[in-house]
């Protein structure tokens, strides 16, 4: 897993895996014995991962859906919650 990943696949990585990969990259780099070219690639990947993770954390809008059966089919409907009911 120490092979640098391609950019396109980074974007689609779930947050947890992106974070895990970032940890991995950091750990490889921290060992300090990576050849320069690979280190640069890994660093680049790490920066992208950090950026992607950071962006994912910025996504603030909560999405709550509810499964409802309509005419015998299950569909997802937006579910709204009254916050100030408490």
């Amino acid at each position: 897993m120490s092979e640098p990943q391609k950019n396109s696949s980074l974007e689609s990585l779930p947050f947890e895996e992106a974070l895990k990969r970032l940890e991995e990259v950091v750990e490889i780099l921290e060992k300090g014995d990576t050849p320069l070219e690979q280190a640069i690639q890994l660093f680049d990947e790490g920066m992208k991962l950090a950026h992607i993770c950071g962006k994912k954390l910025e996504w603030a809008e909560q999405q709550v859906e509810m499964l409802v059966q309509e005419n015998g089919e299950w569909v997802k409907k937006l579910f709204k919650v009254e916050e100030d009911s408490e």
């Binding site: 974070l19 909560q62 509810m66 499964l67 579910f79």
Partner: protein, 454 residues
């Protein structure tokens, strides 16, 4: 002989102790369920222990429930309540009073439920449903499934808590009845359905607080089994802190409340930010230190004389080349000189042997020789002439005639040829010829003798 048994007298203490021991040893009395009606109920104002009598149509028994046990009761017992109690029978040593020591108490009716709960719990436990290793909750679920009532406080608590912690995590709610007859079936179906959809990484199954009856669906076997079946990790969140349901035992995690469940399934965004920031810093630091290390190594090499003074080495070579060149030139010069000299010599020698020169020389020599020859010849002639003269003179002087002129004569033998120089050559009587400067004498010897002094 039949001996009359010895009359044994017990002390009251001994008797009470004996009864105490008997009751203590009877396993049946250790964990009994008793149903009856409460009378003479009182609760000590300080100790909070409860004292009452449990009776039925025929008889009654005194009972005590200590504060440690009654604290957990979800109702306040009062006279006339029909209750189901669990506890043991023992004797109060102080007054030999037989008492029921109550550890748990339920209102009758739900007493059946309680028994059912215990029975199912034991059954599932025996089956090993509680011992199966719990699935690990994802640390960052892509989507959280919630199975609860769409109108209850639980769903709101979960949504609000998750919004506060990690708003980007989507929630998929599967609305179910959480109480009533259909509740258990609906919950079980919902769990199975979510497992078919596989759209969520974790499931929260639960509801808010309520009575035992209200929470009952979560003690049903079908719910327990569907939770057990679930491939998706399940967090059970039923009621309040004190409510324990069968679901809690089977689930992969038990949350005291729906809010606690929401806290369990998603990390707080601040934690993630911290983690990310930390990783980011480590990434930068690791790269910077790697770069610095490499730079340092590079500088160490670049600072070497070969790079700082690249010509130094060249100069060395240049100097060497120069010296070689000089040596070469010297050597060549000498060689050329030598060859020149040799050539010169040869040329010289050659010129010496030039035919013209030779001709000239020979001519010169010829001339010289000629001159010499002439000279010599003349000299020779001169000499010879002189010699001739001399010889002539000498000859002249030596001429016998001349000598004879001075008085000498020559004596020959008779033959006229043999010159007589000694007396021995002529014996007396021999005929001899004597030549004189003028004419000759023919003579005969008369005596021959040796001259005395001559």
């Amino acid at each position: 002989m039949i001996r009359e048994p010895e009359r044994e007298v017990w002390s009251v203490t001994e008797l009470v102790q004996y009864l105490y021991d008997i009751l203590d040893l009877d396993e049946n009395l250790k964990k009994i369920w008793v149903e009856g009606e409460i009378t003479n109920f009182s609760q000590h104002s300080k100790s909070r222990h409860m004292y009452f009598t449990l009776k039925d149509e025929q008889t009654a028994i005194d009972a005590v429930m200590f504060a440690g046990n009654n604290r957990r009761l979800r109702f306040t017992p009062k006279n006339g309540d029909r209750v189901l109690v669990r506890g043991y029978v023992s004797i109060y040593m102080k007054d030999g009073h037989l008492q029921l020591y109550v550890q748990d108490m339920r209102l009758s009716g739900i007493g059946d439920l309680y028994v059912a709960f215990q029975r199912l719990k034991e059954q599932l436990q025996a089956e090993g449903l509680f011992d199966v290793p719990k699935k690990k909750l994802p640390s960052f679920p892509r989507r959280v499934g919630v199975i609860t009532s769409a109108s209850g406080a639980a769903v709101r608590d979960i949504i609000v808590t998750m919004r506060r912690r990690l708003p980007m995590t989507p929630i998929l709610l599967y609305p179910v009845s959480v109480q009533g007859e259909k509740a258990a079936k609906e919950i079980a179906e919902a769990i199975d359905h979510m497992n078919r959809l596989m759209e969520v990484d974790v499931l929260i199954v639960g509801r808010g607080g309520g009575s035992l009856e209200e929470l009952w669906a979560f003690n049903e076997e079908i719910v327990a089994r569907s939770i057990f079946r679930s491939v998706i990790p399940v967090v059970s969140a039923v009621g309040h802190e004190t409510d324990v349901t069968i679901s809690d035992f089977v689930a992969d995690a038990r949350a005291a409340t729906p809010t606690a469940a929401a806290e369990m399934v998603v990390p707080h965004i601040a934690e993630l930010h911290d983690r990310l920031t930390h990783l980011y810093k480590r990434l930068l630091y690791a790269q910077t230190s790697l770069m610095n290390r490499l730079k340092e190594r590079l500088h160490k090499n670049v600072d070497r004389p070969i790079f700082t003074n690249p010509n130094a080495r060249l100069y060395q070579y240049a100097q060497h080349v120069d010296s070689l060149e000089i040596r070469l030139q010297n050597a060549m010069g000498k060689l050329i000189e030598k060859k020149d000299r040799q050539l010169e010599q040869r040329v010289y020698r050659l010129t010496a042997f030039h035919p013209q020169r030779r001709v000239e020389k020979e001519a010169e020599r010829l001339e010289l020789l000629k001159r010499d020859a002439n000279w010599h010849l003349r000299n020779l002639l001169k000499d010879k002439a002189k010699q001739y003269q001399h010889l002539l003179a000498k000859l002249d002087s030596l001429s016998p005639l001349k000598v004879m002129l001075r008085g000498y004569s020559l004596v020959y033998r008779h033959d006229g040829k043999t010159l007589v120089k000694s007396y021995r050559q002529a014996a007396p009587g021999d005929l001899i010829h004597v030549r004189l400067a003028e004419g000759q004498l023919k003579c005969q010897v008369w005596k021959s003798e040796e001259t005395e002094n001559e």
